[in-house]
């Protein structure tokens, strides 16, 4: 293992983070040197019994200087807040058509699912120069995905989605790790990320065992676990909503609130169907907790997304 797997700046964002880091470090070094110089000079010059003149402080040192350095520190810190804040706001939104990879963490491994349906454990292949969006969820405790070379990190929560995105601009093998303490083998939870050229990625994808893509897997599940019995059957006696174009829509609830049907909402609907009932429906859907695992839920949601043709679907964002 090589330190390059950690500290390479594998994206433009990583370069900018490092710039911020070094600017702050320079600033801190200046402050430390200034203070240490002052302290050492005072210690020597005003050691007990030294001949240096003492006496009352000049007036300017008594009050004005205090206000001066308070204000100066304040503006310096505010400047830095602004700098770092702008940095993070710029990095906030991935482009709309980023390649979406699902990450499911459990004690003590990461499972990755590519849009093509390819699955990997503790290893992730991604193409270079392509915006990638990772949508993360956990099956047990809180984990965290940390990719030092990209300077990104996010906690992975059970029953919730969090997101990371990046556009790598260097190929190579980089280190990934879990950074939130998650139990006995926490320190062994991690893996490697292979950033490869687009051609290699295409080759790698086609070399994977033949498998449908996520949406197709989801479609199969939609029929096999019985969703289609109510949601896709005009003759059904049960009054269930049609799920075409559901993803990204705003849904009116019985209590008057309006929520957006994003991944988290759809996931809740599958696992906690009686939370947030849409207006006009009875709370009669069964829960699929225990019936579906995280991977299957991911597939189902991918299928529901594929049913959405509206151009107004919001781009994926962290």
């Amino acid at each position: 293992m090589n330190i390059d797997q950690f500290n390479t700046e594998a994206s433009r964002y990583a370069v900018r983070v490092d710039e911020t880091f070094w600017i702050l470090t320079t600033l801190s070094a200046v402050i430390v040197i200034l203070l240490v110089t002052l302290i050492v000079v005072f210690m020597v010059r005003y050691r007990r019994g030294s001949p240096a003149p003492r006496g009352e402080l000049p007036n300017i040192l008594k009050h004005e200087i205090e206000i001066g350095w308070t204000v100066a520190t304040f503006f310096l810190f505010m400047f830095f807040f602004w700098w770092a804040g702008v940095e993070i706001l710029n990095a906030d939104s991935p482009p709309a058509h980023a390649l979406e990879i699902h990450v499911v963490a459990k004690q003590w491994m990461f499972r990755f699912q590519q849009p093509s349906g390819a699955r990997e454990i503790d290893e992730l292949h991604v193409p270079v120069n392509t915006p990638i969006r990772l949508s993360l969820t956990s099956e047990d405790v809180i984990h965290d995905l940390f990719i030092p070379a990209l300077r990104i990190k996010k906690d992975i929560l059970p029953d919730r989605y969090t997101y990371l995105w990046f556009t790598a601009d260097k190929t190579g093998v980089f280190h990934m790790s879990c950074n939130q303490f998650c139990g006995t083998n926490h320190s062994l939870m991690g893996g490697q990320m292979d950033i490869v050229s687009k051609q290699d990625y295409g080759r790698w994808t086609s070399a994977q065992p033949e498998g449908d893509d996520l949406a197709h897997q989801g479609e199969k599940l939609f029929h096999t676990v019985g969703c289609s019995g109510c949601h896709d059957s005009p003759s059904s006696t049960i009054h269930a909503p049609d799920l075409h174009n559901i993803f990204g829509r705003l849904v009116q609830l019985t209590d008057g609130r309006v929520v957006k049907a994003d991944e988290a909402y759809l996931r809740d609907k599958i696992l906690l169907p009686n939370k947030d009932i849409p207006a006009g429906y009875a709370p009669d859907m069964p829960s699929f907790r225990g019936v579906l695992n995280e991977g299957q839920i991911v597939s189902l949601i991918a299928y529901l997304k594929s049913l959405t043709t509206s151009p107004n679907v919001e781009g994926a964002r962290p």
């Binding site: 019985t254 209590d255 906690l272 009686n274 939370k275 947030d276 709370p283």
Partner: protein, 210 residues
């Protein structure tokens, strides 16, 4: 003077300062207690704001009769406690002892009703777990908070009752005179515990009634 010498404790210079100090100290402690309960209130507020329907459904299962009765009992006990404090300030030993005794009885009445209510709740399977009565999962959040909030409040009540009984015995045996700074502290604590209940009452018993 013997009264005074028995009431004055280290390190206070005189009784007036001691009384003020105890009053001040108990309020600082109450500020701390406010934050203690606010952790629970925050949890409740977050969960309710995200699961309004489930909370309304879950809230309907709470025993509003016991809740309201208990609120009445506590308000009455606060009244008797206020009477006791005023009586002690006026050095009326008999009224102080009577009012304190009434306060203790009302407090015990509260705990008794609470016990009956717990019994009903348990028989209706309202303790979160595998046999929980309400289908919607966030209802378990409401009932978890119900048990924790009322439980902690009941522990505070018991502490209050113990304190009042202790003071009562000290007064009864004339160990300390009825006009005493301890009385201030006990009274302020008792009122505080009642106040907490006044917040719990709408949060736990008046949800989803309309």
């Amino acid at each position: 003077m013997s009264d005074v010498s028995r009431a004055l404790q280290e390190p206070w210079p005189d009784l007036a300062v001691q009384r003020e100090g105890v009053h001040f100290g108990i309020w600082v402690f109450l500020a701390s207690e406010i934050l203690f309960f606010s952790g629970l209130f925050l949890t409740y507020a977050v969960y309710r704001s995200f699961n309004p329907q489930a909370f309304a459904e879950a809230g309907r299962h709470a025993e509003i009769f016991y809740g309201t009765l208990n609120t009445g009992l506590l308000l009455t006990s606060s009244m008797t406690m206020a009477v006791a404090l005023r009586a002690s300030g006026a050095r009326s030993r008999r009224i102080t002892l009577t009012a304190l005794a009434l306060t203790v009885l009302l407090g015990l009445g509260f705990l008794f009703c609470k016990g009956l209510e717990y019994h009903d709740d348990l028989s209706k399977h309202l303790f979160p777990g595998p046999h929980f009565a309400i289908a919607s999962p966030p209802a378990q959040l409401f009932w978890s908070l119900y048990w924790i909030m009322t439980g902690i409040h009941a522990i505070h009540m018991s502490g209050g009752i113990a304190a009042v009984v202790t003071v009562w015995v000290l007064f009864w045996r004339r160990t300390i005179p009825v006009q005493n700074s301890t009385m201030e502290g006990v009274a302020a604590y008792w009122h505080f515990v009642d106040s907490v209940w006044l917040v719990l009452y709408p949060l736990l018993y008046l949800v989803g009634r309309s």
